[in-house]
């Protein structure tokens, strides 16, 4: 069942569940940060409206900078602002930032320990009809390998707002990952969110498998868990909303009883959240793991639903992975 302690959306499994894009949480969170803290500045590279930085830009024009279609320039200007005492949010599609401007960010923001927050939008196959050019599916891999960065991937619009606001609390660079399409609202205003803490959203007694799900994919993991429970296959579902720093204690605790893992992410299975968990378990308590995500392939144009089905990332695919991993248990 949904963890009663976390005050999650009770109507999550209803047909008419409220849906919102996580990028909306970025927009409202950034606006709130702007109101609270005069040192917060924002930059966009010709995607102000789409990445929801528009409200901030309208309210604080003296703290908003339009760079045109120039993601490297945006990154390094942000680094300059950050070393001068600002908290600089840069907002673009993730394939361009941190994709196209990767080395610029590495040198000027991350190695330089500048207080730059990278808002990467249109992540995953959820970007849909735009096709693989615009579906960021390697962004976690290319940021997770950076020392001294934190990575938050909110599961819904409400958590996205909380994660955006929380990102200002650390002086470290943070990568924030958002998605384009409307997805079910899983949490409520009362649901706790703390960077670096993974919380178990679906609880059960005697779990057979622990599912770690990242971003909006948490919804499909919860759907799978609900159906598996009806099939007498109890699982835990953990919201892997912080990929870095990895909640090592939380992961070990969540897998202690199940002794098998499925990871679920809208990202390449190479180098993503699942890899991070596999790295940890390999050096602590090796367990069988199945990885849901893009399997060493680019996706294509289509609706998010069609893409998740074709690339075996939807609830039925998650259920299959759970059954596969159980067969591999020692």
């Amino acid at each position: 069942m949904l963890n009663p302690n976390l005050k999650l959306n009770e109507k999550l499994f209803d047909q008419d569940v409220v849906v919102q894009p996580t990028r909306a949480g970025f927009g409202s969170g950034l606006l709130e940060l702007g109101e609270k803290n005069p040192n917060v500045v924002a930059l966009a590279a010709d995607l102000t409206e789409s990445t929801q930085a528009q409200k901030f830009a309208e309210k604080f024009p003296e703290r908003f900078f339009q760079t045109g279609i120039a993601e490297q320039n945006m990154a390094a200007i942000a680094a300059g602002l950050a070393v001068s005492g600002k908290i600089a949010y840069i907002s673009s599609y993730a394939t361009f930032s941190p994709g196209k401007n990767w080395e610029t960010l590495r040198t000027t923001a991350v190695y330089n320990q500048a207080n730059v927050k990278i808002a990467g939008h249109h992540s995953g196959v959820m970007t849909g009809p735009d096709g693989a050019t615009h579906q960021a599916t390697e962004d976690i891999a290319i940021t997770r390998c950076w020392p001294g960065i934190e990575i938050y991937v909110p599961c819904d619009a409400i958590e996205a707002e909380k994660a955006t606001i929380a990102s200002a609390n650390t002086k470290l660079p943070v990568y924030l990952r958002y998605s384009r399409d409307k997805t079910p609202v899983i949490t409520t205003d009362a649901t706790p969110f703390k960077p670096g803490k993974m919380q178990t959203y679906w609880v059960t007694e005697n779990p057979k498998v622990t599912i770690f799900a990242m971003g909006y994919m948490l919804y499909y993991a919860l759907l799978a868990a609900k159906e598996l429970e009806e099939e007498k296959l109890p699982v835990l579902v953990v919201n892997a909303s912080t990929v870095k720093p990895l909640d090592e204690e939380g992961i070990l605790e969540a897998t202690r009883h199940s002794q098998a893992v499925v990871t679920v992410e809208d990202h390449q299975v190479m180098g993503g959240m699942g890899s991070a968990i596999a790295e940890l378990l390999a050096k602590t308590t090796p367990l069988p793991i199945e990885f849901i995500g893009l399997q060493n392939t680019f996706a294509e144009s289509g609706t998010p639903k069609e893409l998740l089905a074709k690339y075996k990332m939807d609830a039925p695919a998650i259920k299959e992975a759970v059954k596969r991993v159980i067969r591999r248990k020692i």
Partner: protein, 287 residues
């Protein structure tokens, strides 16, 4: 804030620049690898910055009202380290640690390693953008400091440079002054052979910058240009500083090729190779 130089001040700065070259050569020999030509060519300009132009306090490198000097072409950092040591940011003795393990003097400058560095640089093309960010912060915070950025000329091949030039031009960033080390060489040869930059002045003006030129080895002229730059309020300022790579080193000085004209491609390659290695005494990092 800089003022017009007296003859006595000019002589004093020239002596300091000469000392900087000596320190630079001994530092590079000690390090055993790195770049030589670029740092030698910019010794006069760094001396002018650290001993006359910059409003700074070596004992309080984080002073919030200090002028900012950003080095975009980070590979010429040995001359910056030398000038900083001369100015009192750290002991001259520490120059011996350049490029060595556990040193604050990284092969390419790293902001958090050494107080007084404003940015981390080395990968080319990123300095003007960072300088823009620092200059924007001055505008937001109503600070009067100037942001100076030194770039190489070869580095102007980078697309990021032109993104930054467009931004600064659009936003009329008069508190931003760029100094281009126009020494005509880059790793693969003469800049005009590798990827022509000329007409550089016209290009910069087309991007809405106010452009000036100077002899990079005439300290008085350079300081005058900076004075003039401070009086310009409508545009960001670019100073094209014509420099001789390796300036001040005997074997270069005696080579006529380097006096009256820029080198041709083959000469540049040969001379650069000699210079990079200080005639075989150190290892070039690109070999």
């Amino acid at each position: 804030m800089s003022q017009e130089l007296t003859q006595e001040q000019v002589q004093d700065l020239e002596k300091k620049a000469e000392k900087a070259r000596e320190l630079l050569i001994s530092t590079l020999l000690q390090a055993g690898s790195g770049h030589s030509a670029g740092p030698l060519g910019m010794a006069d300009i760094f001396t002018a910055f650290y001993f006359h132009i910059l409003n700074h306090d070596p004992k309080n490198p984080d002073w919030e009202d200090r002028d900012r000097l950003i080095l975009s072409n980070g590979h010429i950092c040995p001359i910056r380290y030398v000038s900083m040591a001369q100015a009192g940011y750290f002991p001259i003795e520490e120059l011996k640690t350049l490029r060595k393990i556990n040193s604050r003097l990284q092969g390419h400058p790293h902001r958090t390693a050494l107080p007084g560095l404003e940015t981390t640089s080395g990968p080319l093309g990123e300095g003007i953008s960072q300088a823009i960010g620092i200059a924007l912060a001055a505008i937001i915070d109503k600070k009067k400091y100037y942001t100076y950025v030194i770039t190489g000329d070869g580095e102007l091949d980078e697309g990021n440079i032109w993104e930054a030039l467009m931004f600064a031009g659009k936003n009329k960033m008069h508190n931003l002054i760029m100094v281009i080390d126009r020494n005509n060489i880059q790793i693969d040869g003469f800049t005009e052979d590798v990827m022509p930059l000329e007409p550089l002045r016209d290009k910069l003006e087309a991007f809405n910058w106010h452009v000036m030129e100077t002899d990079a080895h005439n300290i008085k002229q350079f300081v005058d240009r900076i004075q003039e730059a401070h009086a310009i309020y409508e545009k960001p300022i670019a100073i094209i500083a014509h420099s001789i790579p390796g300036y001040g080193v005997e074997f270069m000085e005696k080579d006529f090729h380097w006096h009256g004209k820029p080198p041709n491609s083959d000469e540049a390659k040969l001379a650069l190779k000699e210079l990079r290695t200080l005639q075989g005494k150190i290892v070039s990092e690109h070999e």
